[in-house]
């Protein structure tokens, strides 16, 4: 019996996603016992709601990082989607779904362009996506502050505000996204290919993997998920503004790495990113309620991340 427990613990220690999940449970337990209000159902639900946004952005980021790339344009894509969506929703469509579809198509298209640049121009993904973020800033100078109106799109508001069966619809969306991404990574040929690409692009190419197509598809997906997150944030805030997506760039990368995925690609899973996202949100929430000067808060936040990393993020090399 005892032996079994030990062996379960051992497998957990060797399994980064599980370890990160355990960590989340531990932090939640400790915080609930010590902090008033933390353990309330409403609060935990709210934490999950916030995690959903990061989790959805990080879904695309995970795919891209697993392939050995990175997407620095997710923040800008989120902002662009959130700003454009109200402009795009035709008033003739009461459901608002068409506006949603158009916005997602634009986000996906931006991602696709990222992929095309990386694949055809052979620009390193970091430069390509950084340049894309710059282009999008230019776009924002044009559209932002113009005729943007508060979102009245029914579908968006439902996503951001509704709680069918007591579960926020954003969290439901996240669950659906997680299922899809996990299936993609672990149950489709594309998933196996992107892992191989991340671990050894040359051998993968010689094994007949179409590198160009994989890049196009995956960066497009990353754009899509960033767009989806943008819509969700828009719904939660009822209004988009310039800079709304900025905080999600580094957080999405941090969630991926905290979940045990190698930043170099080829190793990891979205199953780790999920608790990684929750961990980040939890840490932020914990720091918020502490009454300390901004400098000390920042130090505490950094130290907490580092401490969590010590437990979950060991990496063989580098």
């Amino acid at each position: 019996m005892e032996q079994k427990a030990v062996s379960i613990l051992k497998t957990a220690l060797r399994n980064p996603p599980l370890l990160t999940l355990l960590l989340v449970a531990l932090v939640w337990l400790a915080a609930s016992l010590t902090l008033r209000g933390f353990g309330a159902y409403g609060h935990l639900r709210y934490l999950l709601e916030l995690s959903a946004v990061i989790g959805i952005v990080a879904a695309g980021q995970t795919l891209v990082i697993l392939m050995g790339g990175i997407d620095l344009s997710v923040g800008a894509i989120i902002t662009v989607t959130a700003i454009l969506l109200p402009l795009l929703s035709p008033s003739a469509d009461p459901t608002g779904l068409s506006g949603l579809a158009i916005a997602l198509a634009i986000a996906t298209g931006i991602g696709f362009l990222n992929g095309a640049g990386a694949a055809y121009l052979r620009v390193p993904p970091i430069i390509m996506t950084l340049a894309m973020a710059t282009f999008l800033q230019g776009l924002l100078v044009i559209v932002a502050g113009g005729s943007a109106v508060s979102v009245t799109n029914a579908a968006v508001l439902w996503l951001g505000q509704a709680r069918p069966l007591g579960v926020p619809s954003g969290v439901m969306l996240w669950i659906a996204v997680s299922a899809v991404v996990l299936v993609i990574i672990h149950r489709t040929p594309l998933g196996a290919r992107l892992l191989a690409l991340g671990a050894n692009p040359l051998a993968s190419r010689l094994s007949g993997i179409n590198v160009t197509r994989s890049m196009l598809v995956l960066y497009a997906m990353s754009g899509f998920f960033a767009g989806l997150a943008g819509i969700l944030i828009l719904g939660m805030n009822r209004q988009g503004y310039v800079g709304i997506g900025e905080p999600y760039l580094l957080t999405s990368i941090a969630a991926v790495v905290l979940g045990g995925t190698s930043i170099l690609g080829g190793r990891g899973t979205y199953a780790g990113t999920i608790p990684g996202a929750i961990l980040l949100v939890t840490t932020t929430a914990l720091i918020t309620v502490v009454n300390a000067s901004p400098g000390w808060r920042s130090i505490m936040f950094g130290s907490l991340i580092l401490a969590l990393l010590l437990i979950s993020g060991r990496e063989g090399r580098r």
Binding site: R187, P189, L195, A196, N200, L202, L206, G208
Partner: protein
Amino acid sequence: MMKTLPLLEARQVFKGFFGNPVLKGVDIALEPGRVHALLGENGAGKSTLINLLSGALRPDSGEIRVDGVPVSRFHPAAARAAGIAVVQQELSLTAELSIAENIGLGAFPRRFGLIDYAALSARASEVCELVGLTESLCTPVGDLSLGRRQMVEIAKALFRKPRVLILDEPTSSLSAHEAGILSRLIERLRGAGIALLYISHRLNEVQALCSHVTVLKDGVVTADQPLAGIDAQGLVRLMVGRDAGDLFPAWELPRRGEELIRLRGFSSGLARDVDFSASAGEIVGIGGLVGQGQEDFLLGLYGAMGSSAREAVIAGRSGPLKSVEAANAAGLAYVPADRKREGLVLPHSIASNLLLPSLGRIAKLGLRDRGAERNLVARLVKRLRIKGETSRPVQALSGGNQQKVALAKWLPLAPSVLLLNDPTRGVDIETKREIYLMLKSFAREGTLIILLSSDTPELVHLCDRVTVFGEGRAVATLPRELISEEAIVGAAMGINPKGSAP
């Protein structure tokens, strides 16, 4: 003569990984002025043993002795200090640095704390001369072919003026010419009183160079004796524990099918203006000195490198192939020489490596079919006798088994053209035989096999025709009856044989 004191010894060493014993009480003693051969099948534990001898790994039990004195807590720095140098097959070079800087790395001559480039240049050119490296010392190692890099690696070991030199399969990526230089070098080093340990799967080399042999089988020493008086058959018997048949299967007349490849004026990379044709069921050899454009020729055919041609028909399609995917679709498969970099995804499991090219084919409704995948992997593992659990990373396999994985992954596609780039590099004799038999049977089933090999006997015994490359051009094509080691080397050196001009 008094028995000389061994410079380096292992006494009753045990070593296992994750509970699997690899070495079970092994003894070995390296004496000055002797070339000691270490033989064994793939996975017998040779690399593990030299890792113990060089301090890279620590034995579970048993001891390592330097100059007869047991050393506790042996580590690489101590080994270097004791004059032990290892030429691993896995290169320890830095692509961006120059030849000279690579050779000196970790042991730079210094002046005022800075690297003394003048001294480095002098000493590096000395060792380069020894190993026959003629490239400018400032050439970045990344620009060199695999064989030349191997020579840099050897030069790097010599640079440290070792007393004990361990060579792990040094010739497997060398051309015959370079191998010749190496064997003369080994003679000289032995004469200078250095203790050498030589690991190779090429028994003729072992017999020519070595005077003493230790044979490992399943982690124990099955022989530790002078080489004199043992012939190749005897060595094989010691290694595999039974009589070995002929290494090469008997040549048989190919049943040529339709013409699968016809090229006129084909160029890609170093390969220039090549005319070439081949038909189903044939085994066509590609030979010549290393680095004459043979590899680029295969890569161009395979669509992995830009190519052009006046006329090209490849597996029924006209025009050169534009991508690997198109090549795979046309029925071409390519097994690269550098399996670690180009052939395998090392950190991934054996199973995922085996499945990589066929993922799309066995997917159902866009999802992977686990059952079918398991069956396929099991079939491949069985057919090629790949040892090791299929969920383990392929980097934990010994070199020979890795090679089998690199070949096996293509079989599910039933390729009609198999492009092989040195498929038996670093592969033990039994596995070689298996691979040869397999190639024969593929050919018999109608596959066209194009075999690029640096191991000339392979070309001689297996091929129906051999095209010899020189300076990027196909300088000669030898028909079966004219193939011999002399003819191939001769053609490569520009001595026109009686064979047909291409």
